[in-house]
């Protein structure tokens, strides 16, 4: 772990074992870690493409596994473009972390957990889903709502049935933004899946991750339904750089998302102008 490391800015080198195409724009990189790498679901790492730069990603693999780290990322900017183009099995990448607090899911045993993901936002939530399912009987209900632009953009599509079958109190609903040939499932933004929730709202806790515009409308929809800000955790999108609360660029109000987040309770940040 970086905490045992004398230079918090130096990346640990690791080899890419496998690259999987999840969707036309999303790939999963499996990294082989030389030393056991432990993290909490929701904590993030800084992934270095040597000589190009770093970008923050939350691992999508299970925190219960410490010798492999999976990172699922969408091609959307200068670092991710190069990662998609250049990285192959055998490539060397750098990792710093884990940083941040992670999802405080253990605090909510006995409650009903609502997981709301959008697009590539299901990636960080997958490590949370693994942890929730590991102790599924500790939670009254685990309800997953997920939306993507089109059927091709649904990540981990092969896992959905296994998740649904993993425990009797788990359900998952999936939607795509617009009708597509061959798609017989639900159509509409992910917020439409929130309209008829089979949950006791006062007993529920929400973890949501996705594009900023989606987080905004998920939050407003939940508040309209009667959720309190304290019940909503958002994986906030900001430009984390140093990862250790020093470089200053990932703040929302007085909170640095790299150390106080990236998953942060909406009640803490709701009044700041630049939340969404």
């Amino acid at each position: 772990m970086i905490a045992d490391y004398p230079n918090p800015y130096e990346p640990l080198l690791c080899e890419v074992e496998k690259v999987t195409d999840e969707t036309p724009t999303i790939k999963t990189f499996v990294l082989k870690m030389d030393k056991p790498f432990t993290f909490r679901a929701g904590q993030f790492v800084q992934l270095t493409l040597p000589g190009v730069g770093e970008a923050p990603f939350t691992p999508s693999s299970s925190p219960l596994e410490s010798d492999r780290l999976e990172i699922t990322l969408i091609r959307t900017g200068s670092v991710t473009d190069r990662l998609h183009e250049e990285v192959q099995p055998g490539s060397v990448l750098g990792v710093r972390g884990p940083f941040g607090k992670g999802y405080p899911f253990e605090k909510y045993k006995g409650r009903e957990i609502l997981v709301v993901g959008g697009g590539c936002g299901l990636a960080p939530l997958r490590s949370l889903i693994y942890m929730l399912m590991h102790d599924a009987s500790d939670y009254k209900k685990i309800s997953i709502k997920y939306g993507a632009r089109s059927p091709e953009e649904l990540v981990y599509r092969a896992s959905y049935d296994a998740w649904r079958r993993s425990a009797p109190n788990v359900d998952m609903e999936v939607t795509i933004d617009a009708p597509a040939p061959g798609w017989t499932g639900r159509v509409g933004l992910v917020t439409t899946l929130l309209e008829h929730l089979d949950l006791a709202i006062p007993n529920s806790i929400v973890f949501s991750c996705g594009p900023e515009i989606m987080l905004k409308f998920v939050t407003y929809t939940l508040l309209d339904l009667g959720f309190k800000p304290e019940q909503i955790y958002l994986s906030m999108n900001r430009r984390m750089s140093c990862g250790i609360g020093k470089c200053g660029r990932c703040n929302v109000g007085p909170y640095y998302l790299c150390k106080d987040g990236p998953d942060i309770n909406y009640a803490l940040i709701q009044h700041y102008e630049d939340v969404f």
């Binding site: 640990l12 270095t48 730069g53 060397v92 020093k246």
Partner: protein, 389 residues
């Protein structure tokens, strides 16, 4: 006996390990106590000798009103007219703790010693001369960021530990100074080396750290005593400078503290008129002694090597449009604060609200260099006066 030897021992709240030197010296018969510090009188014409004595272990750097100059580059004439009674320098000492650009790591498969403790180059550490209280207080802000929390910044920690500060109480002010508005004072209660308080014909020099003591000891074997009239003059100087500050800031008086004003005025359209004239030059954040935000970037260490890379950081500014930009295509990278008004509000809120809420002190110490350097003449005092109306 202590009086006779010219050494006055004053109480201090600082606790530091004291070498046995003074206690062993047979001329000085007081018991050395770890929470005391020494004071001595230094005549004006002796000050160059003190600064030269520093050169044995430090690189002496003089903060003049309009320049930062290595002491050895000064002419003899300049050395006779050191600007210690002039207003504070236009430059802050920040760059000696946090250089404008520095390498943070070397990495890649071609780097042999990976995972080593980083070391800053082993040149002589600087002795910063003529630094004022605003800058010492700003160093506390920097310490909170770089030394506290789960991670210590190893580069900052090494520089911070090695440097010595020869601070000076302010005998005059600039029109931009407003430290007393924020609860600070224009003189040093706790320095980081030696502090000089101007008196008639010279200075009362006080060692605030063991390193400062060492320098004072080596400088004078039988230092002249600090007399009661000196103490009175120090106090008079403090009061006179405070009065100057109060007078100079009268037109900016607000009924509430900056914290209260910002708490009551969340960013709104009201802020537009105040900040739309900003030209986004980032001068304010560069000259600020407590602004610390930085940008990290990677590059090849050597043009022809594909296995050795370096990571650097450079100062950054929260007022620049691309400061918080996130991943996105080409020119449409999203930013949480696309308008200058929002970025300016974030800067002010950070200084007077967020840092206060997180660390219990303002992230600003009232040096006024931001307004001194601002092409749009934005002045925090005026902003607060308008918002607080």
């Amino acid at each position: 006996m202590a009086e006779k030897s010219g050494i006055v021992v004053a109480n201090s709240t600082v606790c530091h390990g004291f070498s046995g030197f003074w206690g062993c010296c047979d001329k000085i018969l007081f018991r050395v106590h770890p929470i005391r510090m020494i004071e001595t009188y230094i005549a004006e014409e002796q000050v160059p000798r003190l600064l030269e004595a520093l050169e044995a272990e430090y690189e002496t750097i003089l903060f003049a009103p309009d320049a930062i100059i290595p002491y050895r580059q000064l002419s003899d004439e300049d050395k006779r007219h050191l600007p210690l009674r002039e207003p504070r320098s236009s430059f802050s000492p920040k760059s000696f703790l946090l250089p404008a650009k520095e390498r943070l790591a070397e990495y890649g498969t071609g780097v042999k010693d990976r995972g080593q403790s980083p070391a800053v180059p082993a040149a002589k550490p600087p002795a910063l001369v003529n630094v004022r209280n605003c800058d010492l207080e700003a160093m506390v802000v920097l310490d909170q960021i770089f030394l506290e929390g789960d991670y210590v910044d190893p580069y900052y920690a090494q520089r911070r530990q090695a440097m010595l500060v020869v601070s000076v109480d302010c005998a005059s002010i600039t029109e931009f100074c407003f430290c007393q508005t924020l609860g600070y004072q224009p003189f040093v209660k706790q320095g980081r080396g030696i502090n000089l308080s101007p008196v008639e014909g010279g200075y009362v020099a006080r060692a605030d750290t063991p390193a400062g003591e060492k320098v004072l000891q080596q400088f004078q074997s039988s230092p002249p005593a600090v007399e009661n009239r000196h103490k009175e003059q120090v106090e008079q100087c403090h009061q006179a400078t405070l009065a100057l500050l109060q007078q100079s800031n009268e037109k900016f008086t607000t009924r509430q503290s900056f914290y209260e004003i910002l708490k009551a005025n969340p960013p709104s359209e009201k802020w537009n008129d105040l900040f739309n004239r900003c030209v986004e030059c980032a001068a304010c954040t560069n000259v600020c002694p407590s602004c610390y935000c930085f940008y990290m970037f990677d590059q090849k260490r050597m043009p022809d090597r594909q296995d050795v890379f370096e990571r650097l950081r450079s100062w950054d500014s929260c007022l620049l449009a691309d400061y918080s930009r996130m991943a996105g295509v080409g020119g449409v990278k999203p930013s949480p604060r696309p308008q200058i008004r929002a970025r300016y509000a974030n800067r002010f809120n950070h200084k007077y609200l967020y840092h206060y809420e997180t660390y219990g002190r303002y992230g600003c110490t009232g040096c006024g260099r931001c307004s001194q350097s601002c092409m749009a003449t934005t002045d925090p005092r005026e902003v607060m006066r308008v918002l607080g109306q």
